[in-house]
């Protein structure tokens, strides 16, 4: 065991996989010699050699297309898109190609690629360094979408993603790379070292895709969250004095519906939180699923807390970010308080 922050855990996952499997290689903008703008690939080129961790041109479409070609050849490329906000030039390659190779070739071709990308707000990144585009991927048949919320999960999920034979979008909540930020931006953030999930095995382990985790057990209401919002929801529950059960989805596709249904049937109330814009966000899908599967157990309308339907504004970081105040208000509404 070692104490790791989320960046170190992600780095360790790639390091472990590159050591185990010569077909795993890593590339993307600035990831080689420099080790990435967030340092996620630090030391990998030095340790594993220049052909296994290298810089790419600034062309997200080219990065993802090259990864698809490599995947079709039989490699397991892990590519970094420097910010999720930059992924759109590669979107056609993800949606029309990576997601569909297996289907359109009737299983003849596939590409076991992992696309890592930091996402989310809370860093004063403005509209081009703060977006949460997960719903653009969960809407697409043929790809998996994963978002970790702790160093321990990040490593185990990333190893699963790399070993998976389907393309995986691995979105990293960059606001919690260094510590479990709970949305109270006016307070100091405690480092990961003080959190139990920073205890990370140095070797190989996996967390299966498609299984949610219970971040906090509770009986009064269920919170569905992922990424940074797991920690915000935990803080909000404490602030509101609600005995909330906080479900950390970890994987959006495939989704652990059983965990959701089990919890909502127990609590009868549900609050869904995400940073992404509200309209047609992943919360809409979650809300529909809870309604379809748990309607007769619900004692209150399902609440959604999300980013506003505007681009992410630089000057209004904390008015935009769905912080613990808004989440606590939604909890109180769901409780009829």
């Amino acid at each position: 065991m070692a104490t790791m922050n989320m960046i170190q855990a992600i780095n360790s996952a790639m390091d472990v996989m590159m050591t185990r499997d010569p077909d795993v290689l890593v590339f993307g903008e600035d990831v080689g010699y420099f080790g990435g703008v967030f340092r996620a690939t630090e030391g990998l080129q030095k340790k594993h050699g220049i052909t296994r961790c290298f810089d790419s041109p600034i062309g997200e479409g080219g990065i993802i297309a090259a990864a698809i070609g490599m995947g079709a050849y039989g490699l397991r490329p892990v590519v970094e898109i420097q910010f999720a906000d930059y992924i759109y030039p590669g979107y056609d390659q993800i949606v029309s190609e990576a997601a569909r190779l297996r289907y359109r070739s009737a299983g003849d071709f596939w590409c076991p690629i992992t696309i890592r990308s930091p996402y989310g707000g809370g860093i004063f990144g403005g509209q081009t360094h703060s977006q949460s585009p997960e719903a653009l991927f969960t809407h697409v048949a043929g790809i998996k979408t994963v978002i970790p919320s702790t160093p321990y999960d990040a490593k185990g999920l990333l190893i699963s993603a790399i070993e998976d034979d389907d393309p995986v979008i691995f979105l990293e909540p960059k606001r919690i790379y260094n510590g479990p930020f709970d949305g109270h931006h006016d307070r100091p953030v405690s480092p990961w070292a003080k959190h139990p999930a920073s205890e990370v095995p140095e070797g190989h382990y996996t967390i299966p895709l498609g299984r949610a985790a219970i971040a906090r057990e509770g009986n009064e209401l269920t919170v569905l969250a992922y990424g940074t919002m797991v920690h915000v929801a935990l803080a909000a529950a404490a602030d509101a004095g609600v005995d909330a059960e906080v479900i950390d989805l970890r994987t959006m596709q495939p989704l652990d519906l059983d965990a959701i249904v089990k919890s909502v049937e127990k609590t009868g109330r549900c609050v869904i939180v995400h940073e992404a814009t509200r309209t047609s966000g992943y919360g809409a899908e979650l809300s529909a699923l809870v309604q379809e599967n748990c309607f007769y157990h619900l004692e209150a309308p399902i609440e959604r807390v999300a980013g506003w339907d505007t681009p992410y504004p630089h000057a209004f970081e904390w008015q935009y970010f769905p912080g613990p105040g808004r989440v606590a208000d939604a909890m109180r509404r769901a409780m009829g308080k």
């Binding site: 079709a72 289907y103 009737a106």
Partner: protein, 409 residues
């Protein structure tokens, strides 16, 4: 006040439209054999001028001339001729099948047979092809069963792709034929990635990809060239300039200001421009590019200068946007007739043999079609609907299982 000239917007237009007399007099057809053949290890910047020339081997009398003559034995030439004739007969039959309502869609490669069949013969069988939708000749050359191709076109119970793809979007890993997308250009930069992987693994296989001149306007073309240049990927990047992208002439893709082969110059990738209706010349440039790629010297961009003799697909009527008899006037002729003339000229082929072969390929296609139709045509004997939910993921997730149950299959 400054007296400024008013600006005007330029929109390229083709020389002729329906009703006009086809006139290709502006196309300069250089004599065969006038382009030097550099060593395949040449520096890209030393052969920039080739991107503006036209590599040709066959002259009007059917003689093979000049340094690019690949000096193929008559058996290989005859094989190439037969495959081109077979491909044309296949296209004719399947086009008719679409007109008979047996399938929804078809695309012919008439006039462009050489740009897939000559490369398929010049490449090694293990080399990976990332085709566009008009390279059916690759599959027939590599021995893919014609019946399977037809079953794919008919989306019937024997369709290897289980009725999931539009007709002609074939796929066969065993034949080194990447699944055709339908989104233009995406395979161009994927081929570069495949080639990078081959180099990464110290393999000896190379990749080849084909797009049309219209698709060079896509970002994938430029990103593919960029990545191929940066990592010296062992890949052959083919641009089939058949003059037309559905109804848009090549000027709309940017062909008026420079050749498509010249797009390689800025990337430091050799750009060869070849007479795409000259089987020998296409074979020779592919061989050159393959040799260069296998020597770890990276990619080559090849512009195949040819003409799309038929419509884009069964869904368009070319008489609505270009003169009816343009194809007949194309100054570079027809690839089948030109190779035939060469074989006759070298005494390896006769008119009688040609006529017999023409009957043979039609009969081969007829027999294959009879077998394919016995498995059904579109809508008459489809694959099991159950399979619709398979292969989205390696393992079927719960939501797809539920949806399959909802459909009751």
């Amino acid at each position: 006040m400054q007296n400024k000239k008013k600006l005007s917007l330029y929109i390229p237009q083709p020389e002729q439209r329906p009703g006009d007399i086809p006139d290709f007099s502006k196309i300069v057809v250089p004599p065969p054999g006038n382009v030097p053949r550099p060593d395949s290890a040449v520096e890209a910047h030393d052969i920039r001028d080739i991107a503006f020339q036209l590599i040709r081997v066959l002259d009007n009398d059917g003689k093979a001339v000049g340094p690019w003559n690949p000096r193929l034995d008559p058996e290989t030439l005859k094989r190439g001729l037969r495959l081109m004739m077979l491909t044309r007969a296949y296209d004719d039959r399947m086009y008719r099948a679409q007109r008979q309502g047996k399938t929804s869609f078809y695309m012919k490669c008439t006039g462009e047979e050489a740009v897939s069949i000559a490369p398929a013969l010049a490449l090694d069988p293990g080399d990976m092809c990332f085709p566009s939708y008009r390279q059916q000749g690759l599959l027939l050359t590599r021995g893919y069963p014609m019946v399977d191709m037809m079953c794919q076109v008919y989306s019937n119970v024997r369709d290897p792709l289980k009725g999931r793809q539009l007709p002609i979007m074939y796929s066969s890993k065993a034949h080194g034929f990447f699944t055709i997308s339908g989104n233009l250009g995406t395979q161009f930069s994927q081929a570069v990635g495949w080639a990078m992987a081959s180099a990464y693994k110290h393999d000896d296989r190379i990749a080849a990809t084909w797009i049309g001149e219209g698709t060079t306007a896509e970002g994938d073309f430029h990103q593919g060239l960029n990545f191929a240049s940066v990592y010296r990927a062992p890949v052959i990047l083919n641009v089939v300039n058949n003059q037309w992208a559905i109804s848009s002439f090549q000027g709309i893709a940017g062909g008026e200001q420079a050749t498509f082969a010249a797009r390689g110059i800025g990337y430091g990738v050799p750009g060869l421009r070849v007479d795409g209706n000259d089987f020998l010349a296409v074979f020779a440039v592919t061989q050159w590019a393959a040799e260069r790629a296998r020597s770890n010297l990276g990619a080559t961009l090849i512009e195949h200068y040819t003409y799309r003799a038929e419509g884009h697909s069964t869904s368009d009527d070319p008489s609505r946007y270009r003169p009816m008899d343009e194809a007949k006037n194309w100054p570079l002729g027809d690839p089948i007739l030109r190779l035939k003339r060469h074989l006759v000229a070298i005494g390896a082929w006769t008119e009688a043999e040609h006529e017999k072969q023409q009957k043979d390929v039609i009969e081969e296609v007829r027999a294959a079609n009879k077998e394919a139709e016995s498995f059904g045509t579109l809508g008459t004997n489809p694959p099991s609907v159950k399979t619709m939910f398979e292969d989205v993921y390696k393992e079927m997730p719960w939501h797809l299982r539920r949806q399959r149950q909802e459909l009751g299959v």
